[in-house]
Symmetry: C2
Subunit: 339 residues, 2 copies
C-alpha cells in the first residue's frame, strides 16, 4: 500500500501533532501531543511492556464509559513526565474541549498518556517535562508533517544504546482509508541486526519510505562500532499511536494497538521486556464508516506495518547527541563512520 502525502500520522484527516522540548544545560527530554478534532477520537490501548508509565488507560477499556479521547500525550520524564498531560488537559478544558459533564463549558478532557524513561540522559536527572511543556506541545499542534528524530518525546531516547527518536509512517488502503503510526523509540532491545548491521525494519520499508544508508561491503568495523555504541540497557519503553480514519469501535482500537505491537516486535529485538514500558494507543477518527471483517484485517495489518516503518524512520531521522551523560550516537553516523 502506498503511504499518504506526508507518510506520517497527519495523513489521517483531522489529526495534528505538536512537539515541545526542554532547553538548557543538562536537559534532553520533551513531549509530543497527538491531537484529534474537538469531538475527539475513538481510542483503545495495549500495554505490553513490563514497566509502563501511563495515565487514563483504564478509561479506554471497552467496558467503560469513555469512547473518545481529546488528545494523546507521549512524553519523556518517566512517571514524572505525566505532568505534561495535566497541562494538556487543563488547556483543552479551558478551551471547552472534553467530555461534557454539566453546563456549558463544563467538560473533562480525556487525555491518555504514556511515558518513556529518559531521566538523566542529558546530564540533569531533574530536567523533565512539566505541565507547561505539555501545554507548549499542544499549542504547537498542526496538521503539517511533524518533525522526526530528536524532537518532542524523542529527545532523550535510546534504542539498544544508539540514538532513538520520533518516527512516523502512513498507508493509504485500497478503499481510501488511511492508517498511520507515530512512535517514540526508546528500547532496551536493538533496532539493528548485530549480525549484519542492517535495521531489523529495513526489509519492511517500501516506496516512499526513507531509505537506510548503504552499508559497507566489509561490515567488521560497523559491527564493532555498533557493539561499542550500545550503552548498557537501563529502563526504556517504546510508546506510540496507531491511527486510522476508519470507523473502529473502542475494542477494535485496542486490537489495532495490540497488533501494532507486532510491528514493534519486527523492528526491535528483544522487545516488551520487564524494563520496557511499551504501550501503544489505537485511535480512530471514525470519519469513515465501520469496516467489515476484511477491512478490519487490512487495517490491522497496515497498522503493524506502519509501526515497523515508523521505527525505521525514527532511527534514520535521529542525529548523534553529545551530552554530559554520554555521547548518544545515531545509526547514520555509525554507518557513515564505518563506510
Amino acid at each position: 500500500m502506498p503511504p499518504g502525502p506526508t507518510n506520517t500520522i497527519v495523513d489521517v484527516p483531522g489529526l495534528q501533532v505538536g512537539h515541545a522540548e526542554l532547553t538548557g544545560e543538562g536537559a534532553l527530554s520533551g513531549t509530543t501531543v497527538v491531537l484529534p478534532d474537538p469531538e475527539g477520537a475513538v481510542a483503545g490501548v495495549d500495554v505490553r511492556g513490563g514497566g509502563p508509565g501511563t495515565r487514563e488507560t483504564d478509561a479506554l477499556d471497552p467496558r467503560t464509559l469513555v469512547e473518545r479521547v481529546h488528545a494523546v500525550v507521549l512524553t519523556g520524564g518517566s512517571a514524572y513526565g505525566l505532568a505534561a498531560a495535566s497541562g494538556v488537559a487543563d488547556a483543552l478544558g479551558a478551551a471547552g474541549r472534553g467530555f461534557p459533564v454539566g453546563g456549558p463549558g463544563e467538560v473533562v478532557p480525556v487525555v491518555p498518556a504514556a511515558v518513556v524513561f529518559d531521566l538523566g540522559r542529558g546530564g540533569d536527572f531533574t530536567a523533565r517535562p512539566t505541565a507547561e511543556l505539555g501545554a507548549a506541545a499542544l499549542a504547537a499542534c498542526s496538521g503539517t508533517a511533524p518533525a522526526q528524530g530528536v524532537v518532542g518525546a524523542g529527545c532523550g531516547t535510546l534504542v539498544g544504546g544508539i540514538k532513538g527518536g520520533v518516527g512516523s509512517a502512513s498507508d493509504v488502503l485500497a478503499d481510501g482509508s488511511v492508517v498511520a503510526a507515530l512512535v517514540v523509540v526508546n528500547a532496551a532491545g536493538s533496532a539493528v541486526d548485530a549480525a549484519t548491521g542492517e535495521l531489523w525494519s529495513a526489509r519492511h520499508l517500501g516506496a516512499g519510505d526513507v531509505e537506510p544508508p548503504a552499508l559497507p561491503g566489509d561490515r567488521a568495523a560497523l559491527l564493532t562500532a555498533l557493539r561499542d555504541a550500545a550503552a548498557p540497557p537501563t529502563l526504556n519503553t517504546t510508546i506510540g499511536v496507531v491511527a486510522t480514519d476508519a470507523g473502529l469501535s473502542v475494542a477494535q482500537c485496542a486490537k489495532l494497538a495490540a497488533v501494532g505491537h507486532d510491528g514493534l516486535a519486527r523492528a526491535v529485538r528483544p522487545v516488551h521486556g520487564m524494563t520496557d514500558g511499551d504501550t501503544l494507543f489505537g485511535l480512530a477518527t471514525a470519519t469513515r464508516p465501520a469496516p467489515d471483517l476484511a477491512g478490519v484485517q487490512e487495517i490491522l495489518t497496515a497498522g503493524a506495518d506502519c509501526v515497523t516503518r515508523a521505527v525505521a524512520h525514527a532511527v534514520l531521522a535521529a542525529r548523534s547527541v553529545p551530552t554530559p551523560a554520554g555521547y548518544w550516537r545515531s545509526y547514520r553516523d555509525l554507518v557513515a563512520g564505518a563506510v
Copy 2:
C-alpha cells in the same frame, strides 16, 4: 545461545510430548500433548488472536487458585477438538494426577487447551479429534525428541496457504537453565517473505537449527509458485507452549507466553488477526530457582527466539499433503520445484 541436545521442548527436564493423528479417508487432524512430571508445571497464558478456541485459560490468571497444570493440549478440530482435552483429563485423573480436592485419588487435573482450525482440510468436515484421540496422544508421551511437521495437531495446518505443522526449538542459557518452544503453525499470514521467497524466520536461525533450502538465483518461478500455492485465508490460529525449567511464577509464565508472541510476529506476517486464534502457554517446571530480573529478561528473550525458530522448524519439517480438499504444498517442495 546453543540449543539443547534435541533442540526441542523435551530439552526442558521433565517435559514429554506425545502426538496422535486421526486416520481414514478425509481425516487430516490430530492432537499433541505436552506433559510435565506428575506434580505439574507452573503455567500462564497469553491469547493474542481474534478467534481463539481454548479451555482452562481463566484458571491461569495469576489471581486464581491454580498454579500448576498437569498437561497442555494442542489440537486440531477447532472448538470441537477441545474434546481431546477431556480425554486427557479423564486419563490423568484416573491415574491420580491432578489438583487434590479430597481424599486419596480425588483429584481434578488442570488441562488447558487451545485449538487450531483445520476442519475439512482433509476433505471430511466431521473428522475431528475426540477424547479418545487426546488419550492416545497422552499415552504416546515420551521424553524423546518429538516428531515435527505433519504430525499431531499439525496435521491439518496451513500457513499462508502452504503446509504448516508442528515445530520446536530450545536454548540453553549461560546459567544452564533451558528455554524451549513447541508450536503448531496454522496462520492466515505467511511464513514467507513474498518479495524474496525466504522464510521470515530464516535470519533468526542459528547453529544447530535446521537450515532452510538454498533458493534459486532467479526467484521469479519460486515467487510465482508461492503466490499460486497460497490458498485464500480461512480461519486459522497458531498455538503453542513456551517452557523453561526456571522457577517462574504464574504471572511470569504469562509474560513468557506474551513475549513468545513477539517471536511469532517475527516469523509470520500478518499475525494475531481477527481470524487467528493465536494462543501461547508459558510453562515453568520450576526445578531451578527463581531467576533475578536479568535472568527473567534472558528467559523472555530466549522464549521469543525459540518461538521464531520453532515456526521455521515446523515449516521446514512439513511435507506436501494431497487431499480431496486440496493439494497442500510444503515450502520445501515449492522451493525444490523452482530450483
